[in-house]
Amino acid sequence: MSALTGLLLLLPAAGAVVGCLAPRTAAVRVGLLAALLTVLDAAVMLAVFGYGASGVPQLELDWPWVPSIGLRFHLGVDGISLPLVVLTTVLVALCIVALRRYVPDPGHERALVVLVLVLEIGMLGTFLALDVIVFFVSFETVLLPMYAVVAIWGGPGRRAAANKFLLYTQLGSVVMLVGLLAAASYAGSFSIQQIVDHSGHGMSHTVQVLVFLAIAGGLAVKVPMWPLHSWLPDAHTEAPTVGSVLLAGVLLKMGTYGIVRIALPAAPEGAHALAPFLGAYAVVGIVYAALACLAQRDLKRLIAFSSVGHMGFVLLGIATLTPVGVNAALFGNIAHGVITGLLFFLAGAVKERYGTTDFAVLGPGMRAKIPHLAGFLAVASIASLGLPGFAGFWAELLALLGAWRPADGLPRTAYLVYLAVAGVGSVLTAAYFLAMLHRVAHGEVAARWRAVALPGVSAVELATWLPLVAAMVLAGVWPRTLLGLTEAAVQRLLGGG
């Protein structure tokens, strides 16, 4: 059964190799086949996963890699990583489906598909890793492919945006490496499980604070946490649709996942000392992002900034250090991945048709011009602003609930303030999404588009978007599917608390 875990990395790798060798016209088909087989693999894992023991890693693969330094190639899934694995495989497959229909300039679809598959290896490796060095190597694996995707297929400012992305996130990675190695030195092992079980014994308070600061701080660049977020809007705005979808849908989650998986349990005292600051930065991020969104005149930039806000809710959940909050964070990870993934697909569809994502040029009147596209945009926006019935609602509500009653010893007054501020942020979120819909979708068709024929929503596009809509409704109406999965593992990471 553990072969399933290995196949998750092997299938995209095989797809990438075959894609390289295949003739140019067949490359996308080869990539799609590999991505679909990976989805199938993940689905089988969903089926055979032991839900009774979702707190412990399953389907493990544990090989010696560099025996002389005790490094093992150790992979596995538990309740925390399984949903992220499924999300990743599905988003990658949808991205490649989207590439079958439309390849951004300058073409070279073969290279793009291969890069997306390499990205998938790194993303899945990060979620599957049960060894800090494997985690680090996987984390680094996504860097260059994403850099290339932005730098080659991006918009006019792509080079600067790609450089910014590369340098910012690499700084975060290396700082994280220092923290990981420090934690490993105290636990006497690179194994994530052993580091978790060791839970910071033998570290002085100062060391705990420093270790948490290094690991969580390094990862916070990727999340991104305000004020380390400034690479994100540029990268998103310039990136092609597939880049944006994977960046928002998966790459950002690698940051919060790492914080929950490694940083919290590795240095619990450090987490306790820094959690109030994490919470403060999180809510500042929520409000800052909402205000920035109100000022945006560009759809992609708006979605990018809204990501900073949503990830703020995720961080707030983590900062409560309670099972409710951390579960909310993991829920928020998936919800944001699905909803923002969809939003970026829609933004891509808009850009493809109108040639721009600037509100002033686009709107108003998309609803009259391309009703289905406007409809999807409205649904995704409403889901994103956290309306009940959609996944985003639970993510925000549970994070706020966690803040209402943070873990023992955390300053409750501060968390009540965070709760209030985050509440204001979520009202502002509603405001900017509705304002965006008003400017873009409603009203009379703008004069410049009246005589232009714009294509409607195609079947391939529907096939790309509908699964995401279904997922966000499912998680919204029936949140237990996801929460039940993460709960046991969260209990374990928070030291049975």
Binding site: S68, F136, L144, L166, Q170, V178, S185
Partner: protein, 492 residues
């Protein structure tokens, strides 16, 4: 003293070949003279094979018969690893030289003779068991290279480079010699085994010992081009014939580090308090200055020169916690891993630069625009080397070397140095990736005057050998860490 010539068979083979080459050169007709380069390559290949058994058991020669056992030539298994790196590096340099020797009218016999002499010295340096051998080894590495740097006739640059290098080499050996004599004055023995015993010295001799240790370490600081002893590097690298520059950057530098490892890791372990903090500061300075200056370089050779200074910082960093194992990690195993990785990556980059310089006659970075599309092998090899030097997948060789260096520093508790290293990794990433991007970019218009050219076979082989080593070490990173199994735990 017992002599076991079998222990020094490999250095003897190379020294013997050097003499044979000189004789051959005198008797061969001018047309056939370049063949001696191949004699050198074959000898180095034999030396490589001959060193393999030493990976397991080491090799000893010239052992004393009185007192605790000790040998003047005492090759530890980790030293054998460095021997392999230096021998392979020298072979690649010879391959790269085949063309340069012909085009720049360098005398082939002298060229190979000097190179093999220097390699012999490098091997002795990495295996030194006492201070006199160490000094002789260092001298033998450096002096022939001085000749190699100056061989280019008629060029003012070459003479200036050679003079700079000569002065630095002399200074570095003089400092080492001076330091060794002070250490000898304080401890009464030249044997590293004796020095490693932590016996107290008379209080009035304590300062003598500290000065001796510092002088000896600074001597190696010049050799490995650590900041602030690095000023000779850029001009010497730029002025020397390019294959000789590659030799300086890879073989000569690894030799310097091998000597430093022998000196502080084997001999001066008890006096870590006088060298370890200083080396920590030197490491931080070296990587910072090297990387920051490299940011501004527009010339491939100068960029690689400064990058090699920056990389040296990561090799020195693990020295910050002294020579004793901490939490089961020998801090001095990381430099060996890093040197193996460094040699493979840097040699690949230099091999491509040698190949391209022939094509364009200049070494400007701008000439590398679209190289991947004109010269797929050279372009791909260069991109791989640069990505590995930056420490990113798929260049796992560089990533694991960095992990090893970080691990030694973090386990040693030197958080400040780890932070400096982290910032440096990002700084270096910028210039490596900028260059790699330039190589990958497709030229806007396909210029007819720059068609896909074929590489001369020896240069192609050199690129292939070095990039194959880098790829192999990326696929099997455990080979890098074999050094840890080979590393003797320092005497308590």
């Amino acid at each position: 003293m017992t002599v076991q010539l079998s222990g020094v068979a490999v250095p003897l083979l190379l020294a013997g070949t050097a003499v044979v080459v000189l004789l051959l050169d005198a008797f061969l007709p001018a047309r056939a003279k370049p063949a001696v380069l191949w004699v050198g390559v074959v000898a180095l290949g034999a030396a490589f094979a001959g060193t393999l058994p030493a990976l397991r058991s080491g090799a000893q020669a010239f052992c004393r018969t009185t007192g605790p056992p000790a040998c003047a030539y005492d090759l530890a298994p980790y030293g054998a690893m460095l021997h392999l790196v230096m021998i392979a590096g020298a072979a690649v340099v010879l391959l790269l030289s085949v063309r340069a020797v012909g085009e720049q009218h360098l005398p082939p016999g002298e060229y190979v003779f000097l190179l093999l002499c220097s390699v012999t010295g490098a091997l002795v340096l990495a295996a030194a068991g006492e201070l006199a051998t160490l000094v002789v080894g260092l001298e033998t590495v450096s002096l022939p290279v001085f000749g190699l740097v100056a061989l280019r006739r008629g060029g003012g640059l070459g003479s200036e480079a050679a003079l700079k290098f000569f002065l630095v080499s002399v200074a570095s050996t003089a400092l080492l010699l001076f330091g060794a004599s002070w250490v000898y004055a304080a401890r009464g023995s030249l044997w590293l085994v004796d020095l490693a015993k932590d016996v107290g010295v008379r209080p009035e001799l304590q300062p003598v010992l500290v000065v001796g240790v510092v002088l000896a370490v600074v001597g190696f600081g010049f050799k490995v081009a650590a900041v602030p002893f690095h000023a000779w590097v850029p001009d010497t690298y730029a002025g020397a014939p390019l294959p000789v520059t590659a030799y300086l950057a890879v073989v000569s530098k690894v030799a310097g580090f091998a000597g430093l490892l022998v000196l502080v890791g084997r001999g001066l372990v008890p006096y870590a308090h006088s060298w370890a903090p200083a080396l920590g500061v030197i490491a931080a300075l070296t990587m910072t200055v090297g990387n920051v200056v490299a940011l501004r370089q527009r010339d491939a050779v100068r960029l690689l020169a400064w990058s090699s200074i920056g990389q040296a910082g990561y090799v020195i960093a693990p020295f910050v916690r002294g020579g004793r194992p901490i939490a089961g990690v020998d801090p001095l195993a990381a430099p060996v891993s890093y040197l193996v990785a460094y040699a493979a990556m840097t040699m690949t980059a230099f091999a491509v630069v040698v190949a391209m310089t022939r094509e364009h006659g200049s070494t400007s970075i701008a000439d590398y625009h679209g190289l991947l599309w004109r010269q797929p092998l050279a372009g791909a090899a260069l991109v791989f080397a640069l990505v590995a030097l930056a420490g990113l997948p798929p260049g796992l060789v560089g990533l694991f070397a960095k992990v090893a260096a970080f691990r030694a520093v973090v386990y040693g508790g030197a958080g400040w140095l780890a932070t400096v290293m982290a910032v440096n990794v990002v700084v270096a990433l910028y210039y490596y990736v900028s260059w790699a991007v330039l190589v990958v970019q497709r030229p806007e218009v396909e210029p007819a005057r720059r068609p896909v050219t074929t590489l001369p076979p020896p240069v192609g082989a050199a690129i292939l050998v070095s990039v194959a080593a880098a790829v192999l070490l990326s696929a099997l990173p455990q080979l890098l860490f074999a050094a840890r199994d080979l590393f003797p735990v320092a005497a308590p």
